[in-house]
């Protein structure tokens, strides 16, 4: 493998891991409510921006990160409680429009609370590149990959091993039957927004030292995460991860071998191609499965 290819793959995996985290947020909310939460990117922005501003205020980064994640989760819970929950029973399209409105509102609030400038977060463990297979990798990329891996394992455990996680899956499959089992589906919905917001925030914090952050960073990252979720099959956790990594690598290779001008276009081409040719994505449920 050429060093150049290795380099592209490493940077593709790094950004792909971020897309995967964002895509997982889409998947979790989609499963709980069949809503595509277009405010998902805003959680990413809040995570990064809150960490930067807390760090600038003098808080050690290790303390700023959990505070920022909790703040984003609180915003997610509030979004569910005050915007989605009151519209329960409305059509999914209405709910999606509500999330679009919320994303615009959150971006506006971000420019008021913070500003419209680009901000840099200091890398967690310096910025001296590490040699790897002829290529180099930033320590921050290792943080991105390591934390994403840990989160994927934790989510796998949560949904595969705990009764609460299984209740969330059950609710997504059949809300009525879940209710008859005594599951409080409103709590499931609330939990899904809190969890998705926290995941988005972690993604925003991890990537901030590599790509800078700003009030509108969530627009593009949200769209990329959405493309990854569509590619993997909306609602599939494994699909979100594979879709994110695949999109990241495709972008990185496209930018490297074609032109970096095409980088962002790749995500949109993928969205369109999947919607036209493979509507259920790589890991999505076949429509025949839904009886």
């Amino acid at each position: 493998m050429s060093a150049q290819l290795a380099q592209y793959l490493l940077s593709g995996l790094t950004i792909g891991a971020i897309y995967a985290l964002v895509a997982l947020g889409f998947a979790i909310i989609y499963n709980a409510s069949h809503v595509i939460n277009f405010a998902q990117g805003e959680f990413v922005m809040i995570g990064g921006m809150a960490t930067v501003s807390l760090a600038n205020a003098g808080l050690p980064v290790l303390a700023a990160i959990p505070v920022a994640v909790l703040a984003a989760a609180a915003v997610g819970l509030a979004l569910e409680k005050f915007a989605v929950e009151p519209a329960r029973g409305a059509s999914v399209v209405t709910l999606i429009i509500i999330t679009i409105g919320a994303s615009i509102l959150l971006r506006g609030l971000a420019t008021l609370v913070w500003d419209k400038n680009l901000h840099a977060l200091k890398p967690f463990s310096g910025d001296r590149p590490i040699e790897l297979a002829g290529a180099t990798i930033l320590p921050q990329s290792l943080w991105v990959l390591g934390v994403t891996f840990a989160i994927v394992l934790a989510l796998g455990w949560f949904f595969g091993r705990t009764l609460t996680g299984k209740a969330m899956l059950a609710t997504s499959h059949n809300p009525l039957a879940a209710q008859l089992c005594g599951v409080n589906v409103r709590f499931v919905l609330l939990l899904s927004f809190g969890l998705s917001a926290a995941l988005g925030a972690v993604a925003g914090i991890l990537i901030a030292p590599i790509t800078l952050t700003s009030w509108d960073v969530g627009v593009m990252l949200g769209l990329k995460g959405f493309a990854a979720a569509i590619l993997g099959g909306l609602g599939s956790g494994a699909g979100a991860v594979v879709g994110g990594l695949a999109l990241g690598i495709a972008e990185s290779l496209g930018a490297g071998y074609l032109s970096s001008a095409y980088k962002d276009a790749i995500a949109f081409v993928i969205i369109l191609a999947v919607l036209f040719f493979m509507p259920s994505g790589l890991f999505g449920k076949k429509s025949a499965e839904r009886v």
Binding site: L163, L169, A170, Q179, L180, C181, G182, V183
Partner: protein
């Protein structure tokens, strides 16, 4: 145990329940029969709290009309819904464990053993996805999942629907066994003869109203019931 009075429910402007009064006593098996669309499922859903309704629902002396559905399950009102509604992608055992969602882990363990003893086929398939089971096995799973919640009042909605005669007989044998174990049961079934035969009492529902009530034997002998629901 259960006392329903003046219960009404609507789908938009369509009235599905037009003032229902009925009771189920401790340890009784009460059957509810009626044609398709009479409102039987709507009534059961209203009792479970997953369907908006007005009127009064008293359970063990407490008015539960405004109580959330998950709290009603905790109180012991457990429904096995029409059409089985198992969680297809989840394993048989996960489906059962979710039935005990409102119970402690120890209760769940104990109930799981009892359910497996009652439905050995489920134990053999405990690791399989519920969606690949046959219709009869899915119905057993739906009943098992309901029993996992330790019901004080079990609401069974069409447990024999769409099953071959041999399986219908098996389901009703389970219902009789539950009755013998003093489980209080409110049973809806299109198989009116079988339902009224196992029931202590029964109600006949027509377009959202109770039009007849009596002991199972009385209703089986009733001329109107024989014509309309037993095909005689």
């Amino acid at each position: 145990m259960l006392e329903v009075s003046a219960l009404t429910s609507h789908y938009g402007r369509i009235q599905a329940l037009a003032g229902i009064d009925l009771t189920v006593e401790d340890g009784e098996l009460v059957a509810l029969v009626g044609a398709n669309g009479a409102g039987k499922s709507t009534l059961l859903r209203a009792i479970s709290g997953v369907q908006p309704s007005s009127g009064k629902i008293i359970f063990n002396g407490n008015d539960i009309s405004g109580v959330r559905s998950d709290r009603r399950v905790r109180l012991g009102i457990v429904q096995v819904p029409e059409g089985r509604q198992v969680f297809g992608p989840l394993s048989v055992e996960d489906n059962l464990r979710l039935g005990a969602y409102t119970r402690t882990r120890a209760e769940s363990d104990a109930e799981l053993e009892r359910v497996y003893a009652m439905f050995p086929a489920l134990k053999e398939r405990r690791g399989q996805a519920a969606g690949v089971l046959s219709g009869g096995q899915q119905q057993m799973l739906a009943m098992g999942r309901g029993l996992m919640a330790k019901p004080r009042l079990l609401l069974l909605d069409e447990p024999s629907m769409g099953l071959a005669p041999r399986l219908v007989e098996e389901i009703f044998a389970k219902v009789r066994a539950l009755k013998a174990a003093r489980t209080t049961i409110f049973l809806v079934d299109q198989n009116a003869r079988a339902a009224l035969s196992v029931a202590d009492r029964g109600y006949v529902l027509e377009t959202g109203r109770v039009v007849l009530a009596g002991s199972g034997a009385e209703l089986l002998a009733d001329e109107k019931v024989r014509q309309a629901y037993l095909g005689l």
